[in-house]
Symmetry: C2
């Protein structure tokens, strides 16, 4: 009963695609309710019907971006020795962030105003790094890591690559060549600290 919905799954997809394109191409300031609606050719009401508001649109966009980064991480080939995957995974993380700086900012840099990811959003983002967590787990199973659990080691590694990517995106490392030097220095240093034998009980 009632008028049938025309803002269904198809318009949802179109809105999300338009929002992602606007965010990636022109930055967070370009993602306005009116602009996204105009891009799809519908009214602002559609966004409120489908997503409940701008926050809901951002939340969906957040998950779409997390999915993109998950696919990029999955593409890193596995090695017989999981330790050999750590540095390639880190460099792939860098490439992904550099390729889509605005999407990365939405995910991990609070770069979109008035959008705070819910706990579910955060867990979704965390799950997008499962490819890395898997490698860390295999390293732990192989006994090459210190006694601390794989979860903490993964978080530490995530912190390293996120920090490098974030500072590079802001511009703190200067031109990409200088940033490359930092990455090539920091990643092996951390991996060395991880895999060397430790002196604790």
């Amino acid at each position: 009963m009632g008028r049938p919905k025309e803002h269904g799954e198809d318009t949802r997809e179109a809105l999300l695609e338009a929002a992602e394109r606007l965010l990636a191409d022109e930055g967070p300031g370009a993602v306005t309710v009116r602009r996204v609606a105009d891009e799809v050719g519908t009214s602002t009401r559609a966004i409120y019907s489908v997503f409940g508001g701008k926050e809901g649109l951002y939340s969906a966009l957040f998950r779409k971006a997390a999915d993109t980064f998950r696919r990029l991480a999955e593409a890193v080939p596995r090695q017989s020795d999981p330790v050999d995957e750590l540095i390639p995974l880190g460099l792939s993380y860098r490439q992904s962030a550099l390729a889509e700086p605005n999407l990365y900012g939405l995910l991990f840099d609070r770069a979109v105003p008035d959008f705070v990811p819910t706990d579910e959003d955060l867990q979704f983002a965390r799950r997008s790094q499962e490819r890395v967590l898997d490698t860390v787990r295999r390293c732990a199973d192989a006994g090459v890591l210190p006694a601390s659990d794989a979860e903490a080691t993964f978080n530490a590694l995530w912190g390293v690559v996120h920090g490098l990517a974030s500072l590079e995106l802001i511009g703190c490392f200067g031109p990409p060549e200088a940033a490359e030097v930092v990455w090539r220095s920091a990643l092996p240093t951390f991996v060395r600290g991880l895999t060397l034998p430790h002196d604790e009980p």
Copy 2:
């Protein structure tokens, strides 16, 4: 000649203080031109006379925040062995970021919309970490670091602590106790990787 300025250095200070307080207490969304002007008891024009606009206000706020963080870093005591300063410096960095998450977001997390720090702003922020750079230089002089220059080592260390702080502030590490575990795992790991002898020529 002309009407004398009443929006001088004193109102500048008052505006900056009000803006910092609003940012720290209520987040980036609360720092509006009207709100800041009202808080001081003047008109919005004052902000345009003194700072040229919202961007100029943010730029001044950026430097004020950088100065705050510089003072906090300077407070970390020096040790006879500079290596012993690295972990305390990192933990102090964490405490500073946790104490003023919004100021930290302004400085290093793109958390304020439509504000992109100029190159001068970035150099100002970098200079606020001089205390850390000094320690790294002393480590390099003592010969405990690999061959890579102190600049790159400092950038790498900065990346580690920034990444940990940023992810913790977003909420990716869960409660502070869990985040503490990550810090206590990541910092010594990186320092160990830094100071252990390396096998390159």
